[in-house]
Amino acid sequence: KPLSSEDIDKQLLAEKYLRRFYGLPSGLQGSRTSSNFLQAKIKEMQKFFKLEVTGNLDDNTLAVMKEPRCGVPDIGE
């Protein structure tokens, strides 16, 4: 089933968030970021915020991604 525009928006928001705060490589821009790589990063973020670790972009995960926050990454270099 093709992604709805709403799903695409969610995906783009998540990719931008994970690139900035969880080191998702931006080199995969343009092509669909490989889903298991994206899923691993989503899990990393869910674990940090003590959300249910599903690897999916559920409502709670997206709600946290929309919260006003500090621009410093949550992990590593």
Binding site: F21, E52, E67, P68, R69, D74
Partner: protein, 367 residues
């Protein structure tokens, strides 16, 4: 808490800072004050000192900018990213940038500059983000009053620099409650549109039937207008309202919004002025009554007539055999009353008027 990789820190405890430009949102003196207060928060618990420079290069260069502001790390307009800072080091190391597209304030009306600055300057000293929702170094902005550092923050910064040789008496904010602590007690429990909300200190857990993990959040980050300490709460599903009690005042929430005209005094319900606090509250859907527990007694409030039933207060022990003590919190599900007292939960059958089961309070949190 977390540090940056290689535990980056200032080798010299006497750190310099300079405010390069100012936001038009606040008076210059207010910005100076917010930054100085934010630095003092960290100075109070470490040997660090902060000297202000007015020209040239300082260790920590503080500035306001929007979108691309010279470090190839652009801000994003209103909301989202509020500010960022770089770990200790030469050049851009320690520099702290605030997004000028935000509205900077001295209160809770928008983004409080003191709170954001205290967080960002934590980065400028070597602190990375904390996973503890009650820590100042938690990545998500929350407005709070009072002393900003939690135990977690203090442990983290002292792991880098050690304690202040002449420590000031500071009362750190308590870290977030641990849901599986066997001695965990609750302040209040209520339903909210199909979810269960459990209040504890400045936090609440949100239990959703489809969510395995209860979600811990700061009360203020969802409801900035209600106090950090909730005594009791209940939902009136017919009116789609949750009533929150704290001290002698009560707030009405419609979802996430505060209902106009609140807070009100609890005595509006018909309670005598001698009642200064409600320990627990629960709405019994089947009868339309709301039970309010205070010390060893309870009252019955009729939600339809909005009046207190006559013949109250009555003794909890007389009417709920098996519930000897005072009640911390109460909930009602499918004919059972759940009384929480200290670290235990009593499952009480409303119809057969007896306690069926006693469990640990946090069994409701899958512990």
């Amino acid at each position: 808490y977390n540090h940056f990789p290689r535990h980056l820190k200032w080798e010299n405890n006497n750190v310099t800072f300079r405010i390069v430009n100012y936001t038009p949102d606040l008076k210059k003196a207010d910005v100076d004050k917010a930054i100085r207060r934010a630095l003092n928060v960290w100075a109070d618990v470490t040997p660090l000192t902060f000297k202000k420079l007015y020209e040239g290069n300082a260790d920590i260069m503080i500035s306001f900018g929007s979108k691309e502001h010279g470090d190839y790390n652009p801000f994003d307009g209103p909301g989202g990213l509020l500010a960022h800072a770089y770990p200790p080091g030469q050049g851009i190391g320690g520099d702290t940038h605030f997004d000028e597209d935000e509205q900077w304030t001295k209160d809770s009306s928008a983004y409080n500059l003191f709170i954001v600055a205290a967080h960002e300057l934590g980065h400028a000293l070597g602190m990375s983000h904390s996973t503890d929702p009650g820590a100042l170094m938690y990545p998500i902005y929350t407005y709070t009053t009072g002393y900003p550092l939690a135990e977690d923050d203090i442990e983290g910064i002292q792991a880098l620099y050690g304690p202040n040789p002449n420590p000031k008496k500071v009362k750190p904010r308590p870290d977030a409650p641990k849901k599986c602590d066997p001695e965990l007690t609750f302040d209040a429990v209520t339903e909210l549109r199909g979810e269960t909300i459990i209040f504890k200190d400045r936090y609440y857990w949100r239990i959703h039937p489809q969510m395995v993990e209860p979600e811990l959040t700061l009360i203020k980050s969802t409801w900035p207008s209600i106090p950090n300490k909730v005594d009791a709460a209940y939902e009136n599903p017919e009116k789609d309202l949750v009533i929150i009690f704290s001290g002698i005042r009560m707030w009405a929430l419609n979802g996430y919004n505060l209902v106009d005209g609140y807070p009100k005094y609890i005595h509006k319900l018909g309670l005598p002025k001698s009642v200064r606090k409600i320990d627990a509250a629960v709405h019994i859907k089947d009868t339309g009554k709301t039970l309010l527990f205070t010390d060893e007694d309870y009252w019955s409030y009729d939600e339809t007539t909005e009046t207190m039933d006559s013949g109250y207060p009555r003794s909890i022990e007389d009417d709920f055999p098996g519930i000897e003590d005072e009640v911390d919190a109460a909930a009602y599900h499918y004919g059972y009353l759940y009384f929480f007292h200290e670290h235990l939960q009593y499952e009480y059958s409303y119809n057969s008027k007896k306690v069926f089961r006693i469990q640990r309070a946090n069994s409701i949190l899958n512990c």
